[in-house]
């Protein structure tokens, strides 16, 4: 099946510093594509570059093909037609991403009327439908309300409803549950899952939380310092991780079956984009590092169809914790 979004060799530089270094990936409709990585790995910048929302002074290269159009080459007015309409984004903190002084109805319908030219009444009805879809109780009353009157979880649902208003093909969700309570998280994730099953929506789920990934993502791509280090079906990546960084991430998570095996954190800290190490960016923290790891950037090796990782170390090194 032809992919919905094909990104080839995406590079993002901000102020002369390289943030994203040659990302290539594909998204299918109806799929939840997980982008995992710590802060500073470039995952948010990857997403923002697709929507042209990078800070001023950012330069991009590469291609991002959506429906035969390269998103990276669109001018401002063409980009505005894509945003909210073909590709929508949901951000991390629902408190600050909703305008505190505009009613819910206004925030749900303004881009509906701009993109689709809907009349006020129709837009309002659609807003009610959207709120029902995201399971906000009492949608009519909710429309008259303001963000501060809702809880964090409800605000996130409202944000999702807002993103879905114009029926986009792709929804990018950047840390959608990080600012929420654990109990509320599950509800949001279930919602995303249901939406993509019901409507064929493609979701790019960006998060550092591997637990969230395992709950809802079909595929996971792990990023480190602006590059892909491992990718594949979620279950495979998380249970049979091959790249030392991914394995390090998993080893440092508490596991109910691990018994008395101590948690093993990854030593050191992720590099800031300006101080990215030569060769493989992970080599200073990697216990398997070889000389060549310092010298050259390891290419992405295909282990199987749809499964790859970027490390020259023997992929059959046994996994330490199941």
């Amino acid at each position: 099946m032809k992919p919905l979004l094909e990104v080839s060799d995406l590079r993002v530089d901000i102020g002369g510093v390289n943030i994203v270094d040659g990302m290539s990936f594909e998204l299918q409709a109806g799929q939840v594509f997980g982008l995992a990585g710590e802060s500073g790995s470039g995952k948010t910048m990857t997403a923002l570059s697709l929507l042209g929302l990078l800070p001023g002074g950012a330069r991009t290269s590469g291609r991002a093909m959506l429906d035969g159009v390269d998103l990276l080459t669109l001018d401002a007015s063409a980009m505005r037609k894509v945003r909210g309409r073909k590709v929508a984004m949901v951000f991390q903190d629902p408190t600050s991403t909703l305008h505190p002084m505009l009613s819910i109805e206004h925030q749900l319908t303004e881009h509906l009327r701009y993109h689709l030219g809907m009349a006020r009444g129709d837009a309002r009805r659609r807003a009610v439908d959207l709120l029902t879809q995201v399971r906000i109780p009492n949608p009519d009353a909710a429309l008259r309300g303001y963000p501060h009157q809702f809880s964090g979880g409800m605000r996130q649902r409202i944000q999702i409803a807002m993103a879905l208003a114009c029926e986009p093909r792709l929804l990018i969700a950047d840390e959608p549950t990080t600012a929420l309570d654990v109990t509320v998280q599950a509800g949001i994730l279930r919602l995303l899952d249901r939406l993509r099953r019901e409507t064929g929506l493609a979701v790019m789920l960006i998060t550092h939380d591997l637990g969230v990934m395992s709950a809802v993502a079909d595929r996971v791509t792990v990023m480190y310092a602006g590059r892909i280090v491992e990718e594949g079906p979620t279950a495979d990546v998380l249970r049979r991780a091959r790249h030392p960084y991914t394995r390090g991430l998993l080893d440092s998570l508490p596991h109910p079956d691990a018994g008395d095996v101590p948690l093993v954190p990854i030593s050191g800290t992720p590099p800031s984009p300006a101080e990215r190490p030569s060769g493989c960016a992970f080599h200073p923290r990697c216990r398997y590092a070889l000389d060549r790891c310092r010298a050259e950037v390891p290419p992405l090796i295909a282990l199987a169809p749809q499964r790859a990782m970027a490390c020259p170390v023997d992929p059959l090194v046994p996994v330490l914790v199941a």
Partner: protein, 370 residues
């Protein structure tokens, strides 16, 4: 009924009746928040008024200056009989606290006494001079508001670029110029050299005043369809209004700029863009809306600046308004007139504050609904 708290201190338990009263007040307050709000403001107004009268009273009686001598001039002032008559007439021979109480009593009835200078009720003086100043002040606030806010938004959007730097200098310049000097310079250039505008007053001597509705010549002329009177009044109005607007324009530009910059960094602006909204909708509908509370506050405060400015500007343009009146009253220690002016100004201050508060509630639902 006394109860003793564990620490041994006795607390008196409020009676059941007081409790009921308190509960009733709280209930009424939650049911009619707006009324209580206005009510509180009115109480503040009264208290402020009392405070103002007290200050004026103290000031004019504190000191070496003798109102009788100041008003009667040199010859009459040295005649003890004339001075005595003057004193008796204005009640200056009674003890101070008594004078104050008498004054307050009359005030409640709307009688602000007679001006020692003009021999007229202060109320009449105020009624004559207030519209002139109102016309000037409102025009200048509208001018400075529209220009200031517009330029402030521009400066914020062009942050750190040349436009921004230039606007910064211009706005600081506007705030650095003494209004009396600016008035003189502009009069010299536009009246004396270029003859674009008349030099003083509100209307040319040959033009008759329009029938009084508001007392503001421009509006009255418009209402009665006298277009040439309107034109003449506008000609007289434009220069003093601009001079008066200079300071506030600079102030509003600075304030709007920083308010907008503050907002531009917020996430909801990014969300608005991510929805694909056109830039003008983002700026007007989202950014300006969020930036308006501090701007509204400053515009409210600007009324105070304008009142200060009118004293100097009216002086130079011979504009017969409250500014000139207050100057005359202050320098002759005309107590009723001084207090009258101060009360009027305090009223304007409170009203402006109230309008600002209400606007806050309209703009920001968080204020309104909590």
């Amino acid at each position: 009924m006394l109860r003793t708290a564990p620490s041994g201190i006795s607390i008196s338990q409020p009676s059941a009746r007081t409790n009921r009263l308190i509960r009733a007040i709280v209930r009424a307050r939650t049911r009619h928040p707006l009324l209580f709000f206005i009510g509180r403001r009115l109480v503040a107004l009264v208290l402020l008024g009392v405070g103002v009268t007290a200050i004026a009273f103290v000031l004019t009686h504190l000191v070496p200056g003798d109102p009788a001598e100041a008003n009667l001039g040199q010859r009459a002032g040295s005649d003890p009989v004339a001075v005595q008559i003057f004193r008796e007439r204005y009640g200056l021979d009674k003890p101070l606290p008594q004078q104050y109480v008498i004054y307050l009593g009359k005030l409640v009835q709307g009688d602000m006494g007679e001006s020692e200078q003009s021999r007229r009720p202060v109320r009449a003086d105020l009624a004559e001079y207030i519209p002139a100043t109102a016309e000037l002040a409102l025009t200048s606030i509208v001018l400075s508001g529209v220009l200031g806010v517009g330029l402030g938004v521009l400066a914020a959007l062009q942050q750190n670029k040349l436009t921004d730097q230039v606007l910064r200098v211009v706005s600081l310049g506007g705030m650095s110029m003494p209004s009396f000097w600016l008035a003189l310079v502009s009069l010299y250039v536009f009246f004396y050299q270029l003859s674009w505008v008349p030099g003083s007053g509100r209307l040319d001597p040959v033009v008759s005043r329009p029938p009084a509705v508001t007392g503001m010549f421009t509006i009255d002329a418009l209402l009665s369809g006298r277009i040439d009177t309107l034109a003449n009044a506008l000609q007289h109005l434009i220069l003093p209004a601009c001079v008066l607007a200079a300071f506030n324009m600079g102030l509003f530009t600075r304030f709007t700029r920083s308010a907008v910059l503050e907002v531009l960094g917020n996430d909801y602006v990014r969300t608005a863009r991510a929805k694909g909204l056109p830039e003008h909708a983002v700026i007007l509908g989202h950014v300006l809306r969020a930036a308006s509370p501090p701007v509204v506050t400053v515009i409210g405060l600007a009324f105070g600046n304008v009142m200060t400015g009118t004293v100097l500007v009216e002086n130079i343009f011979s504009w017969p308004g409250i500014g000139q009146y207050s100057f005359r009253s202050a320098t002759t220690l005309d107590l009723p007139a001084i207090v009258g002016v101060m009360l009027f100004v305090a009223l304007v201050y409170i009203l402006a504050n109230m309008v600002v508060d209400v606007l806050y509630g309209v703009i920001d639902p968080r204020v309104r609904l909590t």
